[in-house]
Amino acid sequence: MIYLWFNMALFFELLATGGFVVYIVKQKKWVFRCSYWILVAGFVCHTIFLSYRYYSLGTAPVLDLKSALGFFAWSIICVYLIFQIKFRLMVLGSFVAPLAAFLMIISSAIPWVEGPVKPVFKSLWLTVHVGTVFIGNALFAIAFLAAIMYLIQEHQIKRKRLGSVYDRLPSLATLDSINYYSLIYGFPFLTLGMITGSIYAQYALGKYWQWDPKEVWSLITWIFYGALLHERRRAGKYCQGVSLDEGY
């Protein structure tokens, strides 16, 4: 039963991806609307699946790579749907949906491993940590996609190649502000995630900070984004590329 919800989410998200690809080629508004609602349907299925897992495991369903990827895909779609309400930028879906679908495909390819959940994972701190970190990273993923779109569009304008790509992508100012908002909202989430993570570490492992590679990389990522955000605020920099990272 539970896998049915996962499969339905996967199916709808793939279908929506197909729809969004058709939309970017054909530029028909009704195609976008269909794809959008299919994606919403996929998101709802996905949410039901995650809630059910949370209920049955007693903790956030992110304990293995399979669940983590699925949860990341869910976070990205969640952030996209919120952004869609704010920016109404239809073409963004054509970039976000494939990324989410890609994560879901990898997730579905990994076999299910069901084992007893260690009591150490059953902590509210872990749930909050995972939730904030994933939302933060989903925002950074959108920032990354907006930056890619910005680079493509800027290249078109600079090279004076105003063809079909130029028509389909939004203005530089729009892409820049999406990138900026993603960063500015993503960073507090990431920060909160780091704090709750170390509190959880204290609770579970007895130490706030252990210098294990995962923690060190998280810290480097956090510093990197902090520096980027600082630079943007100081120089008003039209951002030219943000790398995607692994933050969990």
Binding site: Q153, I157, K158, K160, L162, G163, Y166, P170, S171, L172, A173, T174, A235, G236, K237, Y238, Q240
Partner: protein
Amino acid sequence: MRDIECVGEGLFLSTCNRVEALFTTEAAGEAKKSVISLLSGLGNMPEEKFSSSLYTFEDRDAVMHVFRVASSLDSMVVGEPQILGQIKEAYAQATIQKTSGVILNRLMHRAFHVAKRVRTETEICEAAVSISYAAVELAKKIFHVLDGKKVLLIGAGEMAELAARHLMTHGVSKMVVANRTFERAVQVAELFNGSPVSFDEIGAQLLEVDIVVTSTSAPEYVITHELVKKSLRKRRNRPLFFIDIAVPRDVEPAVNHLENVYVYDIDDLKGVIELNMAQRQQEAIKAERIVQEEVVKFEKWLKTLEVVPTIISLREKVESIIQVELKKSSSALDGLTPSQNKAIRGLTRSIAEKVINDPIVYLKGKADRPSLNMYLDVTRMLFKLDEDNGDADK
């Protein structure tokens, strides 16, 4: 053109890339020759020099050409709205000079009608149609909205002013005008409610503005790579968009390589327009169909003109019969009161008109049929028109 005998009605149309002479004539070859020699005389240029760029259309093709020109399908920039204004101007001149007659009047009015139909029924005029429009579209792709953006206008040509005006109507609120002669800057600034600055202040202004329109006649670059580079740091990397309408260029091409700086010169903008044109091929087909439709309608009307001489001579014949018969009976009619006299005259006229009314309606109905000439001949013979009217055409 009025002095050329074989030309009936005529008008001259001149636009940015063409001069056209529209005229009606019975002797096409002769009229064409005289018009060409007239043009060569006016332009002070021997005929051989421009004969390669000459084109002539006759009858149906001519009507079609006029309609296509009016609806801007024949323009360098398809869909540009200026051409219709130029045609209206030419027609107004012709009516003042009284060189246009029944046919040209009708033709021009139909042309305006076609242009209106093309504009409202197709989207051909909606996309980027002129250089300044293309510049505005580009600016929107960079800044998204132009509200609150500041424009620097360097030099003042007609094109630059047009571009500036377009930018203003799309939300640009602040305009700064620089010119080598400060007085001119003040004049132009007044037009746009802007503020004038001297040429030396351009460097400082580059820190403030978002869009720069240049159109000076300076032979060297007004905006150099170095000048823009200096301003970038202080601009906090806000995008800067140069629209260079000047020939030769005002903005050094290397400026385009700077980050967040975009330079479009007039050739680039023309490239943008061509692209738009390609995308609007579909709309052009629709517009051509409208033109075809209207040409057919006009031809039908033109054919009815052939009936007109016959109808006129028919009416004249009846009129002369009435006059002759009234004169014959004048002695008997003299005894009547004026009101009775008037009634008799009205009666005879209305009887005569009723008699010829049906034949006239019938002829008009046959106007666009190939058998028209036969009906005309029969009418002329039945009413013996050609004996009364020596000048009627055979």
